[in-house]
Amino acid sequence: MATTASGIETMTYREALRLALREELERDPSVFLMGEEIGVFQGSYKVTAGLYDDFGPERIMETPISEEGFVGAAVGAAMAGQRPVVEIMTINFILVAMDQVVNHAAKVRYMFGGKVGCPLVIRTPNGAGNQLTAQHSQSFEGWFAHVPGLKVVAPATPADARGLLKSAIRDDDPVLVIENLQLYKAKGEVDTSVDGAVEIGRAAIAREGGDLTMVAHSFAVTRCLHVAERLQAEHGISAEVVDLRSLRPLDMETVAASVAKTNRALCVEEGWASYGVTAEVASRISLACFDDLDAPVGRVGMAEVPMPYAKSLEDAALPHEEKILIAALEVCGA
């Protein structure tokens, strides 16, 4: 980390998550971490590096490879007054714990008439691009954003990674914090002199523009920002990028205000677009901004195939910048 006198530090997304975990562990003794290899091994993606040495095995709890078991145990611990923060090594492994997330964590408060809550956090990275192939390259956040009772956030910057994780840990309901494999090494500025908690349910304008609104979350925001630069430089199109940050609740006010200004919208996600986050956002834009739109809402996601291994095929499947650029030009009629 690089520090300046003002408290603004440049750090990676991974370091920002670690900072949030450390700050919350120090602030609230009921917070503890659970997950596979998060202790002595320092975390599969090193997010928890150093925490085991500082907080010990009771606060940094290593688990067997047993996602249904320890996610369920976290639900129970949360019901009994603790604030567990579970790491699922990658989002692909959460499928074996779906029953606990969807049928249990999400239902606890409502099904029991508000008499017991479930302040649980599940952190897990989505994403593709490292030739990890079909079973390890997926983005399922839309599945969870589908479910009443859950909240889902997906930060795209180090500052939001720290701020949203903090808010998730302090939230009284189950929150999934969707991280991203490509973003872990991304750098950004974080103001460590302030608490920095970011309100869940509020989108951000990542780049201002007047001709096109690009709506994205997580690593797709980074892709959109690059494409926006190219649209400006190569085509004279000024694109605004809305970083959703939170998928449930979803800040349609910010999206609709942007589309009302630009009259054109392109929605981008890392995962499959069918029945995905972009489907939801595009539908809502059509409803909220019907009179504002000069063109149908565009969408870009991953190719609708299981992720292949060969680099040429993987590249072809990813929602890479060329694809987004083509879609953006189409929406702009350029």
Partner: protein, 336 residues
């Protein structure tokens, strides 16, 4: 036990009158197993159960009034009309649910025990499950976690012989379920669940070890349901009438405990008083449930989320947010 028996018989009647809806799993025949285990619990101990939950709620002290109101889907039900028969709960009485997915409550019970350990509390968690739950992955994962983390959980397997309509020996490679505890190096015992005292004794000893030594264990409680899997099941397609009759005549837990009470010198007046008091409790429960209003549709989205900021967060998401649904409901009401 008598309250549970009469309450369940009343539930069956009310279901037939369509005042209770949804699934409804009765515990008739399993009263001694239920009461034997719950009576062995200390005041701080926590209870989770499967969806055959009426008896557990009553045994744990949840008022019959709020239980019946929940079955009726009324505002004053113990889950505010959101849970129904399968999802009874009352934290005030340390009863943490009635859970509807087979074996889903097991890891949650382990987690509640983990929280108790973290909080320095000397208590045990009782997690009831049916025999059908022991072939789920959650069974294996939860017992393993309880063992490796030394969690004070007593997994009480209510073995009533059938997982829905499938016999235990047809679905289990090891039908002596208690023996599976050995795979996790924890005590496993089997007890006659029609014998309330034996069940109490077995549960009490294992609970004591759970509290003092953080020793998890499996207690297989052998019992029998005299009704079908749920009220929708006559309970005769997969077992003979003779088998059911034999259990009803020779192994009815209420009859067995009554015999014991008589042998111990209980008078007819005392036994009548038990019956009369239980009936009054059930009658009062029905009256309470009938008087309680249906939950107001304007409260539909209450309890989806708990924190006070959430309404504001979701208001930006409309339509489709809890805030949006409230607006739609208001319009419907206006139209009506």
């Amino acid at each position: 036990m008598t309250v549970i028996r009469l309450f369940e018989q009343e539930s069956e009647r009310q279901y037939k009158r369509a005042r209770i809806g949804g699934y409804c799993h009765l515990a008739i025949g399993q009263e001694a197993a239920t009461v034997g285990v719950v009576a062995a619990m200390g005041p701080e101990d926590l209870l989770l159960s499967s969806y055959r939950s009426h008896g557990f709620a009553l045994a744990k002290g949840v008022p019959a009034t709020t239980v019946m109101a929940e079955l009726f889907g009324r505002q004053d039900g113990c889950a505010a009309g959101r849970g129904g028969s399968m999802h009874l709960l009352d934290p005030e009485h340390n009863y943490f649910g009635g859970w509807g997915i087979v074996a889903g409550q097991l890891p949650i019970a382990a987690g509640m025990a983990l929280a108790a350990v973290k909080q320095g509390k000397e208590l045990a968690v009782v997690c009831e499950l049916g025999d059908g739950a022991v072939n789920m992955g959650a069974w294996h994962e939860s017992l393993n976690l309880a063992a490796v983390w030394r969690l004070p959980v007593l997994f009480t397997v209510f073995n009533n012989g059938y997982g829905m309509g499938t016999r235990v020996d047809q679905s289990n490679a090891e039908p002596e379920i208690f023996k599976r505890a050995a795979a996790f190096r924890m005590p496993g015992e089997r007890v006659d669940g029609q014998d309330v005292e034996a069940t109490h004794q077995a549960a009490a000893a294992l609970l004591e070890r759970a509290r003092k030594e953080r020793q998890p264990a499996v207690l297989e409680v052998m019992t029998y349901r005299l009704r079908g899997h749920s009220v929708a099941d006559a309970g005769t397609a997969y077992r003979t009438k003779e088998e059911v009759a034999e259990w009803a005549e020779k192994r009815d837990p209420i009859a067995l405990v009554t015999e014991r009470l008589i042998a111990a010198g209980a008078t007819a007046e005392e036994l009548d008083a038990i019956q009369r008091d239980a009936q009054r409790e059930v009658d009062e429960a029905v009256a309470f449930a009938e008087a309680s209003p249906m939950p107001d549709p304007s409260t539909l989205a209450d309890f989806v989320y708990g924190d006070p900021e959430t309404g504001r967060q979701f208001s930006r998401m409309a339509p489709g947010s809890p805030a949006g649904e409230a607006a739609v409901l208001a319009q419907l009401e206006q139209a009506a």
